[in-house]
Amino acid sequence: MDILRIATAGSVDDGKSTLIGRLLYETNSITKDKIEALESASKRKGLNFLDLSLLTDGLIAEREQGITIDVAHIYFSTPTRKYIIADTPGHIEYTRNMVTGASNAKVSLILVDARQGIVEQTARHLSIASLLRIPKVIICVNKMDLVQYQESKFNEIRDKLSELVRKTTFQGQTVSYLPISSLFGQNITKKAVEMPWFNGNTLLEELETFEFAETLAQAPARFPVQFVVRPMTEAYHDYRGYAGKISSGTFKVGDEIRVLPTGQTSTIATIEKFEKSLDQAIAGESIVMTLTNDIDISRGNSIVLASETNVPSLKDFSAHVCWLDHQALSPGKTYLLQHGIHVTKAKITQITERLDVTQQTSTTEVGQLNLNEIGKISLRTAQAISADVYAENPSNGSFILIDEFSNSTVGVGFVV
């Protein structure tokens, strides 16, 4: 059973809460007592239907009290897979939360109100989904019930959306368009009886049939060493295992490997998972690797295949960065850069661009980057990092910036 991580973002007016509520309801993920509570709450509001948006109501109350608008995690499962929804409620300016919520997502769920069509937020979401290289975007044209389920209305919005998507999308990204009504459960998990003209998948079918694991296993092999296991017991006197989670690609027993940044080479002797020995392991697996000879490897080093000629090693490079902190990013400042588990100092030498994610334009000669802004920067690190270009290998191409004094995570970067 695998896990599919989904990110949603957008204003409540688009019906996002109702959509999530509907998904949970129709997949039997809501307990009976909660449904009963919903029924009475809906009645109290004078409604003759189940107001599923009330399921995430606690979050709305939180927002009204002025607590940080933040990512919430919601869980449901089907016989096929487990789903984790990163629900990032927020106003238009909360790019920070969208990026945070979407960072682990394989699917971006974008809602459009059928009455309004494309709004600024739609363009922002599409841009961010592409910046983060999210492979699957599902655009749900919601509230079709309020436009009498007209096919022409959906087609009109879809055509405009496709124009926008042409500007933002990248090769390998699939974008689908669904007419839905969250309120009446049309095209969420069941075919829309009200829209017989639509032959496509329901939302759940889109999610259930989406395949993504293979591409990661085929990416260049990257194994950052997290922890060196040295039991030093009698039974394991000379044992030296390198523990970590494979970030991309596949490693097999017998593979010749190279350690970055030292450049030493060796051969994989064993791949272990607790008491089991494996022939191979792929991206996402937490393993312990042993090598045929003793070489000096420590935390933060990266293991790659020796056959690879173009190994990543960056010291002076450019990156897109989304700024997450109230204190602006200014050129010349030094931060700690964490790439995966490897931490080194980094100096921001220049901010070269500020992106306007809604207009798909950029400005040059930028003095500083403020909270929620996305820009392009040049930076130099104290030690080389073994990062790939984000667009080519997303799981090894991002980093965070940490303020040395407050210890906060203040920015997220994507190597270009």
Binding site: M1, D2, I3, N28, T31, K32, D33, K34, G58, L59, E62, I67, T68, D70, V71, A72, H73, I74, Y75, S77, T78, P79, R81, K82, I84, R96, T100, S103, N104, Q226, F227, V229, R230, P231, T233, A235, Y236, Y239, G241, A243, G244, K245, F274, E275, G284, E285, S286, V288, R299, L324, Q338, G340, I341, S398, F399, I400, I402, N407, T409, V412
Partner: protein, 308 residues
């Protein structure tokens, strides 16, 4: 079989292995990023799962941090017995600190009345223990599916020296990069099973064939009926005159203190039945709010599934 029941059956025994990989990665980050981490062990299924994950993360090495148990003095004897067995089995260091000592030192005051428990008092002892050992990271078994505020909790959650969580000052967590840098006096609570649901935990216990304390399975016990729930009778429970203990077959769905953990009527003697019970309970009710009508519905569902 109704579609709902077949949906239940399809959810049994499917543990997403990715969750284990993620949790082991978090365990290793704790060991690497902190000087003095500790694993908070309560004897419940979630912390037993944490111990299993820690064991796997550092194998064939030993768990490189101690298990810390804050003993309220009101634990089930079965839990204490299990705790000592597990520490021996894994070779992990076990540190026990007692709420009774905090009370004796005048730092905590025993609650009064029939609902008196030492649940709240534990915090005092915990914070003292953190200070005594200078722990900079404490691993806990909380999960995001438990409730709405938890849904927003980070995996590395920074606390000030009063152990307080400031929702407004949470660090963004991007991709799988964990930032455990802290200032003097701060410490971090770490939640490696944040993304697990209750069902995931039980499916994992089943797949891993893990030992759990006997009180999770059906057994005969003296209980009293209070607020529609079954409370284990013990010397620590303040009973009223009309609360007469009687013997019945029960098990515990969660395991905490004897004074604050309600038992459920159950004949579940193995883990499959426990999982089925949880699934049918998930449909009808979640949490400990047991009223007659609902437990009847749950019973009906269990009967539909064909056991006893």
């Amino acid at each position: 079989m109704s579609t709902k029941m077949s949906a239940i059956h399809n959810k049994i025994g499917h543990f997403p292995r990715e969750l284990e990989d993620e949790s082991i990665y978090i365990m290793r980050e704790v060991a690497a990023q902190f000087d003095r981490p500790a694993l908070l062990f309560s004897g419940g299924k979630d912390s037993i799962t944490l111990v299993r994950l820690a064991q796997k993360a550092f194998f064939p090495g030993k768990i490189p941090f101690p298990l810390v148990h804050i003993d309220t003095g009101h634990n089930f004897p079965e839990t204490i017995e299990f705790r000592d067995w597990l520490a021996k089995e894994t070779g992990a260091e076990l540190i026990v600190r007692y709420v009774q000592d905090s009370i004796d030192q005048g730092k905590a005051t025993e609650e009064r009345g029939k609902y008196a428990s030492r649940n709240v008092l534990q915090t005092v002892t915990l914070l003292d223990t953190i200070e005594e050992f200078k722990f900079d990271a404490c691993i806990g078994g909380a999960r995001r599916d438990e409730e709405k505020a938890r849904a927003k909790e980070r995996i590395f959650s920074v606390r000030d020296d009063f152990g307080q969580w400031d929702a407004k000052r949470q660090r963004p967590e991007l991709f799988d990069m964990l930032n455990g840098r802290i200032s003097v006096g701060e410490n971090v609570r770490v939640f490696p099973i944040s993304n697990w649901t209750e069902l995931d935990v039980w499916n994992y216990i089943k797949e891993e064939k893990m030992e759990i304390p006997s009180i999770y399975f059906a057994h005969q016990r003296q209980v009293i009926q209070r607020d529609g729930m079954l409370w284990a009778d013990s010397e620590y429970l303040n009973k009223e005159a009309d609360e007469i203990p009687f013997e019945t077959t029960v098990r515990f769905r969660t395991v905490g203190d004897m004074t604050c953990t309600a038992a459920v009527s159950s004949h579940a003697v193995d883990i499959d039945v426990i999982i089925e019970e949880i699934l049918s309970a998930e449909i009808s009710e979640r949490g400990a709010r047991i009223d007659d009508k609902r437990s009847e519905a749950a019973m009906e569902k269990r009967k539909q599934q064909g056991y006893f």
